[in-house]
């Protein structure tokens, strides 16, 4: 099941550049939360803080608190945390030298799983959840790079799901895909929320409106507004949100 996230007074820096300026946000379990905002507003930094990837870059700094079901993520080993908080990136990034099957089980192997039966069962389960199984079940040993862009992205989702996280972070997962592949990903996200808490960064307003239960609007490192998607896209409280979603700026 998905876990809830609570973010309090989160601040983040790249060198002297403060990119997040005190974010407070509650993220409900088993919901899709969309993060929207113009380029450079801090939305990717925000999701990268949640699995502690931000702090891996030289010169970066994070302050504040993030809890996962009440437990601070900073009290946990980052590698163990990333098992619980999976991430899918904008550009599909299957490991180029690995087969489809090896891509999916890579995380499990890193975590020490060696039993072939278990690995195969887990690969099938993950590929089914990623709605890719039927398309690749007869060619699991083909290179991950042999798949189409949309399939590669679903492969990356399957890889993230294989380690059984409770939270899935997605940073513009469909921005490089055609409309059909995008629809596949969106349908998948809708199905996955039954078992996962999903945060998705997107520049596509209509995508956020279609798939997210709640939407957060970031601007200049601040959280301007966070509320039910139906309200954000019909009657936002803040004029800056209205100006952004109607395309008046950004």
């Amino acid at each position: 099941m998905g876990q809830s996230l609570s973010v309090r007074h989160l601040e983040a820096w790249y060198g002297s550049n403060k990119t997040l300026k005190g974010i407070n946000m509650e993220i409900k379990p088993n919901q899709v939360t969309a993060i929207i905002g113009p380029s450079g507003c801090g939305k990717s930094t925000f999701v990268r803080c949640i699995n502690r990837m931000h702090e891996t870059l030289p010169g970066t700094k994070v302050k504040g608190e993030i809890t996962l079901d009440g437990e601070s993520i900073y009290d946990q080993d980052p590698v163990a945390l990333r098992k619980m908080v999976g991430m899918v990136f904008q550009k599909a990034n299957p490991f180029p030298s690995m087969s489809i099957y090896e891509n999916v089980v890579a995380g499990l192997r890193l975590n020490g799983m060696k039993n072939k039966q278990k690995l195969l069962a887990s690969a099938e389960k993950s590929l089914r959840m990623a709605a890719l199984w039927d398309e690749v079940k007869d060619r699991l040993n083909y290179s991950g790079m042999s798949l189409s862009g949309g399939q590669q992205q679903r492969l990356c989702i399957a890889r993230a799901l294989a380690v059984e996280p409770s939270v899935l972070l997605m940073d513009e997962p469909a921005s490089a895909l055609d409309p059909i592949a995008t629809t596949h990903i969106e349908e998948l996200i809708r199905e996955l929320k039954e078992n996962y808490t999903i945060l998705i960064v997107t520049h596509n307003m209509q995508q956020a409106a279609r798939i997210a239960d709640s939407t957060a609007f970031f601007l200049n490192g601040e959280l301007v507004e966070h509320g039910p998607t139906s309200e954000i896209f019909t009657n936002p409280n803040d004029k800056r949100t209205e100006d952004y979603i109607t395309g008046r700026f950004g």
Binding site: Q206, A209, N235, E242
Partner: protein, 216 residues
């Protein structure tokens, strides 16, 4: 920013203004046929109905095009959806006006009384329609809210018209048919004003996303 969407909304506003002018022309013409009992003119105006129907289709097409190509949200979306509703109101207002010309067709002989309150109702209803469209164009909520009081005045006149005609029909049964038809006219004009309040309600919805009943 969003010049295409802004341009599209301007096209909608102008279409609705033109449609309003057409409705005004038809109502004035139809009222004149009633006052003068000119059946030939009544036929002319009845045949003009299609002009407003054409405007309604143009507004619908423009709205569908904007929704499909611009993916409007929030206030932009409310404004476009409201334009579709307002065009439907205007089309019905034209139908009601045409109803008056159809009454002219049926009235036999001279009028049972000089028409005073009915032309006054028409005048007030037209002012309301103009004001509703002006409120839409300027997104002026106060102008829109002001329509409620004007609608009350039209309702009051309608009640007066019905009372007067009932007295005539009771005293002079030979005017029963005519009295009934003129009551219809009063009803058409009262409904015309109600549609004008709908325009005002849409203006409030555009600005606030809230529904407010101006026709209580």
């Amino acid at each position: 920013m969003r010049q295409s969407l802004n341009d599209g909304q301007m096209v909608l506003t102008n279409l609705l203004k033109e449609m309003g002018l057409e409705v005004e022309r038809i109502l004035k013409g139809c009222m004149q046929t009633l006052i003068t009992l000119d059946r030939a003119q009544a036929e002319f105006w009845i045949a003009e109905d299609h002009l407003v129907n054409d405007f309604e289709r143009q507004v619908d097409d423009a709205c569908v095009r904007l929704i499909a190509t611009q993916q409007p949200v929030a206030k932009d979306l409310r404004k476009i959806i409201s334009a579709m509703k307002i065009s439907t109101d205007l089309e019905r207002m034209a139908d009601l006006a045409i109803g008056i010309a159809k009454v002219t067709r049926r009235i036999e002989g001279p009028l049972c009384k000089p028409l005073i309150d009915i032309p006054l109702m028409a005048e007030k209803a037209l002012v309301m329609m103009r004001q509703g469209l002006e409120a839409y164009s300027r997104e002026d909520m106060e102008l829109a809210r002001n329509l409620a009081a004007q609608d009350d005045a039209v309702d009051h006149l309608y009640n007066q018209v019905v009372r007067d005609l009932l007295v005539i029909m009771t005293k002079s049964p030979e005017y029963l048919d005519q009295g009934m038809y003129l009551t219809f006219v009063g009803r058409y004009l009262e409904r015309f004003a109600d549609h004008a309040t709908n325009i005002g309600e849409n203006v409030i919805y555009i600005a606030t996303a809230q529904r407010q009943d101006l026709n209580k």
